[in-house]
Symmetry: C2
Subunit: 316 residues, 2 copies
């Protein structure tokens, strides 16, 4: 099967796009994003979606402007709308005391959202593929995660989509070679993400030595965790009600109580509590109260009430 | 807190032992098993259990007999019953066309079970600690697994217990040093498990560089997956009935159908089907039939009937 049809199947499986969607592609000009652009360009009529390309010029490499012109030219060839923005990420990072990578990510997404708004796109497409997924799974395992968290790189989450997430390194290499897709080498050597670089360059090659298809193995694992997340979302709707900004969780005294509690924290834009803390919350007696950071928890019989403390308006 | 109390807490948390249990410790004489023996010896009165020690002499190292005498002496010091058996694992492996490690494992467990039976022990204790757990998690992820499978190294499974599973490398080192626990160096260089050696010696040290507490992080992740397994066991009992050797699964059209189906295969001593195969089985129409290896599956409305083909008695 041609690779583009594998991508189409993956897009369909996760209902990534609906007819009429306007999808903004984040394209750096590197192999992964150029492959994504080429594949989606071939699939757009079939999917009945329209595409635009956003390139964020980080001003981090000497070749940054050249790369911008390269992406622009490739868009022109395909008559795709091209949007770009140039910012001095280094200075921004220093001024705001952020890591380079963190600053780059923040500014890039701000730019994508500006274009989304201004040009009426409704979805973003990011060129993560299965090696990126493997990297994140190993990273989270090492730093600490749960079943919900290990599934964190999703095919679709809010308006961000990852259409080529199921492709592996070999697929991608083959695709760009056979289809003569041009790209720039954009390995981010300014990357300060020490841990992720170590995983990518030192650990993943060893997983490959153990199993040449490790990316597929981890992808299948991830797919099971995504299904698990969907299942939790259904349970969430059954057990959680929101009234006056208070989340009411009906406790069932099963494992899912814990998972749902973690999800409520995430929905309140808070990090989920530790495993130990979750156990403490759920083992509270009726009328019990706890506070974690600025989240208030109160138990009343088999109901748990979770709310976020409202910051005083006088404060900063 | 003294380390032995951490182990006690872990044993209690997972109801590993009941009062009166007779626990047979698998002791090679290496650091991990000697630490386990020393810790359980201190805890046995508190737990009200009795202990015995089984040492399997693999005849694989020149020092094998010396190691056996060492373990025997350490048992005598503590007045613990000592059982040993010597076998030529190498010859056995060659005769039976098995890998050395596989043959060793098989013979060792056979020996443990002989002693269990003959001397009326009811549980086995194995000295796996959290690095062994990390190794297995990475190994399974790389080779392919699901949420159920990634939780596979359990504190208690049937009659096998792992009382020191929550300890990490640092804990163990500290314990044997402070308590002057003697042990032999038994790093298995004859180990043919190429992949596991690579993980242990090349990958885990890199996870340590990323997070010195990675063993604890993976342990916490594993604990969540164990709870998930317990949850599935409850659902299993709710949805599965066995009649005349046929497993009847009541389908609920949710994610858990898939997990329960995998568990039924495991209970029939078969490898669970692939993700794709599971999807095919569950999407069968009523009256649909499938056969996978020697497992028959039939669907009738929302019931799935799963049975193992009975081998003809005339066959081999």
């Amino acid at each position: 099967m041609k690779l583009e049809y594998e991508v189409l199947k993956f897009i369909r499986k996760y209902n990534m796009y609906e007819e009429g969607d306007r999808v903004l592609l984040g394209v750096s000009g590197g192999r992964d994003s150029m492959a994504m652009m080429d594949i989606l360009f071939k699939l757009k009529d079939n999917l009945n979606i329209s595409l635009g390309v956003a390139h964020f010029n980080h001003s981090l490499r000497n070749t940054a402007d050249e790369e911008e012109r390269f992406v622009e030219k490739e868009c022109r060839k395909r008559s795709l709308p091209f949007y770009s923005k140039k910012m001095d990420v280094k200075t921004y990072a220093m001024t705001n005391k952020l890591g380079i990578e963190e600053a780059a990510r923040k500014l890039r997404y701000e730019f994508f959202n500006e274009i989304l708004e201004a040009k009426k796109y409704n979805k973003i497409a990011i060129a993560h593929y299965s090696k990126d997924l493997s990297e994140t799974v190993i990273y989270r395992l090492t730093k600490g995660t749960g079943i919900f968290g290990i599934a964190g790189v999703l095919p679709i989450y809010k308006n961000v989509t990852r259409p080529i997430l199921s492709l592996n390194f070999e697929n991608l290499e083959k695709y760009v070679t056979i289809n003569n897709v041009k790209y720039v080498i954009d390995e981010s050597n300014y990357d300060t993400k020490y841990a992720r670089n170590k995983i990518r360059h030192e650990i993943l090659p060893k997983l490959y030595e153990i199993n040449e298809k490790y990316e597929n193995a981890i992808l299948r694992f991830a797919e099971i965790t995504w299904e698990y997340r969907n299942f939790l979302n259904i349970i969430y709707k059954e057990r959680v009600q929101i009234e006056n900004n208070v989340h009411k969780l009906k406790l069932n005294n099963d494992f899912l109580d814990k998972e749902i509690l973690r999800m409520i924290f995430l929905n309140l834009n808070e990090l989920p509590p530790s495993k130990k803390e979750v156990e403490k919350i759920l083992s509270m007696k009726s009328k019990g109260k706890r506070k974690i950071n600025n989240i208030l928890l109160e138990k009343e019989k088999n109901m748990l009430y979770i709310s976020k403390e409202v910051k005083s308006l006088g404060g900063k």
